[in-house]
Amino acid sequence: MTAGQRRVGWAAMLVAVVVLVLLGARTPPTSGTSDDRLYALAGQMKCLQCAGESVAGSQADIAVKMREEIRSQMREGRSDDEILSFFADRYGQRVLLNPSSEGVASLVWIVPVVAAGLGVVGLGLAFAAWRRQRGDAASEGATDEDQALVAAALRGSPDV
C-alpha cells in the first residue's frame, strides 16, 4: 500500500466516523414527563437531609417529596431551568449539585480550564526549549574526550 492510498484511506475513515457519530447524535429530553428526564433532573439536586446523596439516589422523605414535585412540574410543562431555579429559590443554591456559572461559584468552572491551558502552554514551551537545546548539542557533536570516555566504558564492560 502506498502512502497516497493510505492517505485516502484515512480520509475515508474520518468521513465514516463523522457520519456515524452524526447518525447517532441525540439530545437528552428537556421536555415531557419521562422517567429519564425526572431522574436526570433529580440527579442535579442534593438531598439536604442526607449525607452526600442526590435527590435521584436517596429514599429520604424529602427526596421522595422533591421527586414528586419535579414530576408535577414536568406535567405542567415547565422547562429544566424553571424547575431547577424553583428548587434553588426554595432551598438555596446549595441544593444544586451543578455549581452556577455566576459569581464566585463560576471559578470552579474557570480555574480548571485556565490551569489546563497553562499546562498545555507550559508543555509547549518545554518542547521548544528542548528543541533549541538539541539543536545546540547537535551542532557541537561529540568531542574527542567524549569518544575516549565511550571507548573506555566499552573496554571496561565484560558483557560486550
Binding site: 441525540r26 442526590s54 421522595v64 443554591q93 449539585l97 455549581p99 452556577s100 464566585v104 480548571p112 518542547f127
Partner: protein
Amino acid sequence: MSVLLGNAAISLGLAACVVGIGALLSGLRSGKEKLLLWARPMSTLALVAALGAVGVMQVALLTNDTSVKYVAEEGSKTTPFPFDVATMWSALEGSILLWGVLLTAFTVAVAAKFKSRLTDPLVGWAMVVMLTVTGFFFVLMLAVAPVFRTFDAAPGFDGPGPNPLLQNHILVAFHPPMLYLGYVGFTVPFAFAIAALVTGRLGEGWLAETRRWTLFAWGFLTVGIVLGAWWSYEVSGWGGYWAWDPVENASFLPWLTGTAFIHSVMVQERRGMLRVWNLTLVVATFSLTILGTFLARSGVLQSVHAFSSGSIGPTLLGFFAVIVVGCVVLIGWRGDRLRSPGAIDSPLSREGAFLANNLLFAAFAFVILLGTVFPLIVEAINGDQMSVGAPFFDRMSVPIGLVMLFLMAVAPVLPWRSATTELLSKRLWWPAWASVAVLGFAVAVGARGVSSLLGFWLAGFASGSVARQLTLAARRQGWRGLVGRANGGMIVHLGVLVIAVALVASQSYTKQGEFTMSPGETVRVGGHEFTYVSSYVREKANRREIRSRIRIDGDDVFEPSMNQYLATGQMIPRPSVKVSLTTDLYLNLTRAASAEDPAIRIRIVVEPLIVWLWIGGSVMAVGTVLSAYPGRRHRNPLDPVSSPVAIGPDRDPDPESESVPA
C-alpha cells in the same frame, strides 16, 4: 484487661519505632553500620506489637467484650460472622488500627527485601521514613483516636453493632483492607524518594528499587476502588456505583497521581529526565492518601462514608502540611542535583505521549480536588453555602476521559525519541479501522449520543492498539509477550477500556422507574416485565427481612428485601440484581409490604454492561501482576535506549524497527 493489653501492645509498637529511628539516625550520623541493622528487629517488633493489638481487638469483638469502649459502641452480640471481624474497620479508631498493622507489615517486608543492604544509607533513610510514618500511626492509636478505652457496661448491655449499611454486604470484609493496602503501599516509594533526596542519590536507583512496590500499591488501590464501587452498587439502592462523594474522590486522587507516576517513571528510567516531576508525583500520591484520610475522617465534608469527628482532623492535617512543606524544602535543597541531563526530541514520541498523559492525569486530579474542597473555600471566603456534585464531575470527566482514550490509542505504538507521521499512519492503520467497525456496531445496536459514541469509538481505537501490541509481542516472544512492564501494561489498558465502555453504556443508557405494586401486578421497564408475586418475612439473628418475590420476564424470581436491624430498628433495603453480560436488572424496595397493606413500592433500574465494570477491574489486577513479572531479564546497558532491532523470523517489517518491550 483487654484495654490494658491493647494499649501495652500499641505502646510497645511505638517504642520499637522510636528506638529504631534513634538507632538508625545515630548510625547514619556516625557511620556505625551495626546500628543500621537495628531496622529489621525493630520493625519486626513493631509488627508483632501491632498484630498483638489487632489480636486483642479481634478477641474482644468476637467475644463481645464490652469492657472495651470500641466494642461496646460498634459491636454487638448479634453481629454475625464475618461482620464481627469487619467491625474492626467499621469506625474511625479501628480503621486506624488496620492502617497501622498494614503499615508495620510493609515496613517489615521492606526490611526483609533489603536485608543485605540495610547498611546502605539510602535504605537506612528509607527505613527511618517508614518507621516515622508507622510511629505516627501508633501515636494516633494511642493518644489522638485511642482505640482501646475502657467502658463500664451495665450487666446485659449489648451494643448497637456496626452501622447497618456495613452489615448488609459481604464486600465490607474485602474493600477496606484492599484500599488500605493500596494507601499504605505508597509509603514505600515515598520513603525511598525521601531517602534519595536526603542522601543526594537522585539517579534512577531509588526508582528501580521501588518499581514493583509502587506497582503493587497501585494494583491494590485499583482493586480497592473497584470493590468499593461494586459494594456501593450492591447496597446503594439506586443502581449507582460511583457518586463523586468526597470520600470516593479522596481514594481516586492518589490513584490518579499514582497512575501518572507509573507512566512518567519510565521516562526517567529510559532517559534520565523528569526527576523533579517524578519526585513530586510520589510525594503527592503519598500526601493525598493522608489528605484523603483527613477528608474522610475529620467530618469537614459531608459524606455517606464519613466517620465521627474528633481531634484526629487537625493532627492529620498537620501531618499532611509537614509532609508537603518538608518535601518542597528537600526538593529545593537538592535542586542542583535534580537537573535533567537530556532533552525530549519530539512531542511525537513515547516520552512525549507520557508527558501528555501526565498533564491529563494531573489536570484530572486537580479538577477533582478543586471540586471536592471548593464548597469549603467559598464558605470560608463569603459564607455562601454551595454544592459541587456529580453533574460537575461528570461534565469535567467527559473531555478528559475522551482525550485519555485517544492517548491510549496512539501512545502504545509510538517509539521512543521520535516518530514520523508515515510510521504512525502505518501502525495505527488497523487499530483505526477496528475503531470504525466498533463505532458502526455501536450505532447499529442503537447507541446514541455524541459523547457516548465518541467514547465507544476511541475505546475501540485504543483496544485495537492494545491488540496490535500484544499480537506483535506474542509473535516475537511467545508467552513472554504477555508479561513484563510494557505487555502487562497493555493488559491493564485492556481492563481500563472494558471499564470505560461499561461506564459510558451504564451512564448513558440506563432506564429506571419507581412503582407502587399490588400482588399480581406487572410493570415494564426498558423492555423487561416485572411481576410482583408476594411478600414474606424471614427472621435472622440480628435482623428481620421483609422479602418480596418479583418474577422477571415471566421466568426467574428475585427477592429484594427490606432489612430491619433489631439493635437500632433501622430499615435498610437490600437490593436484588439479575446479572447478565449485557444488562443488569436491579430491584430495590423503597417500601416493604406489611400485614395491613401487601402493596410494595419498588425501584427498578435496567442498566447495561454493569458486570463489565467488575470484569474490567479483574483484568486490570491480572495485568498488574503480569507487568510485575520480569519480561526480558535485564536490558543490556549498552543497548541503544530507543529501538533495539527485533530478532527472529517474524521480525516486524516496519522500516523503523520497533522496540521490544523490556
